[in-house]
């Protein structure tokens, strides 16, 4: 038997469960507030549909409801979300400048690194904005499809009805999502966003690496070089053992 990941603890799957129920709860609350006198009464599907569409759209537009799959690459967020109050992009070099004497990097290198990071961040923001346009399109299309499905008939506004409407909206949202995420424009934008985020991550590492020797810390490049050397030693054919080699040399000596 195997114990899987976070057994017995609060894992990502439990967080996903909680988040989904919270969303559905918000939806119910919104309906309860919007139609307070509707208990037992008949409400037009259309009006409920429109109200739900607004609610769903709000939900969709909240970034937290749809974390991107490449979220884990945002280890580079030190650049993307600068921790400093100044609003300037975080730069380890600048952060350590006060402590570092003499500065391990030439001023020119700092400027180049800063320019690279600034350029990447500018592109990152542009791409985020482009992706947000796609998300708006998904939200709008999902809402339109959902409202179009709602009939003009009246229905009792109970939980099973809302549950059905919810399922219907999920279907609309998936259809709208699929229509967008298969497009070449979306695919290119998302891929470039991943590429830029990766470049930021690599840039961040490059800066950390340049300061590591100052603190007597082994760098990533050094560890990688060591590992490559070990792999080479493992895979290359071994030379004859010392014992045999020495026997061979003895024979050669005798022959002479």
């Amino acid at each position: 038997m195997e114990s899987a990941g976070s057994q017995g603890q609060s894992g990502p799957e439990q967080a996903a469960f909680r988040a989904a129920l919270e969303r559905f709860g918000q939806l119910l609350r919104a309906i309860l507030i919007e139609f307070p006198s509707s208990a037992g009464a008949l409400i037009k599907d259309e009006s409920v549909g429109q109200r739900l569409a607004v609610e769903f759209e709000r939900w969709l537009r909240e970034a937290a409801s749809m974390p991107p799959w490449w979220q884990n690459l945002q280890m580079a967020q030190a650049f993307v979300q600068p921790p400093s109050q100044s609003g300037q992009p975080f730069n380890l070099g600048t952060a350590l400048k006060m402590q570092a004497a003499p500065a391990p990097l030439a001023q020119n290198d700092f400027i180049q690194a800063y320019q690279r990071v600034s350029g990447l961040m500018a592109r990152w923001s542009q791409l985020q904005a482009q992706l947000a346009t796609h998300w708006s399109a998904i939200a709008r299309t999902a809402g339109e499809r959902f409202i179009a499905r709602a009939t003009s008939s009246s229905t009792a506004l109970d939980l099973p009805t809302i549950r059905k409407l919810y399922d219907s909206w999920i279907e609309c949202a998936e259809q709208a999502y699929a229509a967008t995420v298969h497009t070449d424009d979306f695919c290119r934008t998302q891929a470039e966003l991943v590429n830029v985020t990766t470049s930021l991550l690599l840039e961040q590492r490059r800066q950390v690496e340049s300061f590591a020797p100052m603190f007597g810390v082994v760098t990533r490049s050094e560890v990688d070089a060591l590992r490559r050397e070990m792999k080479r030693m493992q895979t290359e054919p071994r030379p004859a053992s010392g014992r045999r080699a020495s026997k061979g040399s003895r024979r050669k000596v005798k022959a002479r």
Partner: protein
């Protein structure tokens, strides 16, 4: 949910009650173990382990060569042995087959330079040799699942003498069919940079797969739990599945970069231009019987990506089986459990 139509306030209370009840039952089920069949480790190199599953008591051994299962790198293989009533492996054992499984383990940064050739020729090759030696046999039955199926095709094309029969399950072959969303997303990634950034975090993989149908997989699935009162077995099954879904190991940088570039971006498998250890993978060299199983509603590996196999292999004994379920459903759904293991076992026995 509610039996009292129109009573929205009561329904709200009921929603709260069911939510708490479901949360409590899922929490209680959190200790449910995964993997139900007894197995022993028979070989290990680095983080890769070969397991042999112990025969079930009172089951007569079938007259068939041993079965080796090769699972994907992107998830853990215990999905094939999740619990007694949802276990492909257990059902193969019940059919009297000798079953081995390659567990790729959980790579860390020290493994970041492992390449596809290492996985397929070095590790998988060593596992095959170990099984053959243990049974004094010249060939075995190979079952490849998902990405493990792609590996199995490569291995089989390079070493056909070691594979008597090949079973592929939800295995991508043509990586650029129009309905393949993963392929479209992967097409423009800079895999050289991604490789340099190190191993791919497992959580990123999980997020990627969930992003293929996010509203269904991240929202509706959980809300659906409230439709009826969960019983303990159901809660345990759900928790096991959830744990597996969120239990993606980190992916080795080098091998992942090669897989994405060679297969998704360049579609090399069908063009015969995958090269491993200096040898070209030519699918035409697969002449042994092939059973190709796929899921009709697969959102990860679309049926079109799987059924392409028939056009590229050299086998004349080719069987294709479609199951009306999804990608993961093919491993654990009731529909698949009642059909797929029996099909595999009888297909293998018929070719013993």
């Amino acid at each position: 949910m509610s039996d009292s139509p129109g009573d929205l306030a009561a329904a709200w209370s009921e929603f709260n009650r069911r939510s708490s009840d479901a949360a409590m039952k899922l929490r209680a089920a959190g200790t449910a173990a995964v993997g139900c069949s007894l197995k022993s480790e028979v070989w290990r190199q680095d983080k890769v382990v070969l397991y042999r599953y112990l025969p079930l008591p009172f089951i007569q051994a079938a007259r068939a060569k041993p079965v080796l299962i090769c699972f994907a790198l992107v998830n853990r293989p215990y999905i094939l042995d999740l619990q007694p009533d949802r276990s492909l492996i257990r059902r193969l054992l019940a059919a009297g087959l000798e079953v081995y499984l390659i567990d790729w383990g959980r790579p860390d940064e020290s493994d970041r330079d492992i390449e596809l050739c290492d996985y397929i020729e070095r590790y998988m090759g060593a596992c095959v040799r170990h099984v053959l030696k243990s049974h004094g046999s010249g060939a075995l039955n190979l079952i490849g699942v998902c990405q493990g199926g792609t590996f199995s095709l490569c291995y089989c094309a390079l070493n056909p003498q070691h594979v008597a029969n090949l079973v592929t399950m939800v295995t991508p072959v043509d990586f650029q069919t129009p309905d393949d969303l993963l392929s479209k997303w992967a097409r423009h990634l800079d895999m050289d940079s991604i490789r340099r950034a190190g191993n791919i975090p497992g959580a990123m993989l999980t997020g990627l797969f969930l992003s293929l149908a996010p509203f269904r997989l991240m929202h509706q699935k959980y809300v659906g739990l409230l439709d009826h009162v969960l019983d303990a077995d159901e809660a345990e099954r759900f928790v096991r599945m959830e744990k597996w879904i969120f239990d993606s190991p980190d992916q080795v940088a080098a091998a992942t970069a090669q897989f994405v570039q060679w297969f998704y971006q360049e579609n090399r498998l069908i063009h015969g231009s995958v090269e491993l250890g200096g040898r070209r993978v030519n699918l035409q060299r697969i002449r042994q019987p092939v059973l190709n199983i796929y899921a009709k509603q697969d959102h990860i590996v679309p049926p079109s990506a799987v059924t392409a196999l028939r056009r590229y292999i050299g086998s004349r004994d080719y069987t294709e089986e479609a199951v009306d379920t999804g990608h993961i459903g093919l491993y654990v759904s009731r529909t698949a459990q009642g059909h797929v293991p029996g099909l595999i076992a009888s297909w293998i026995r018929a070719r013993a």
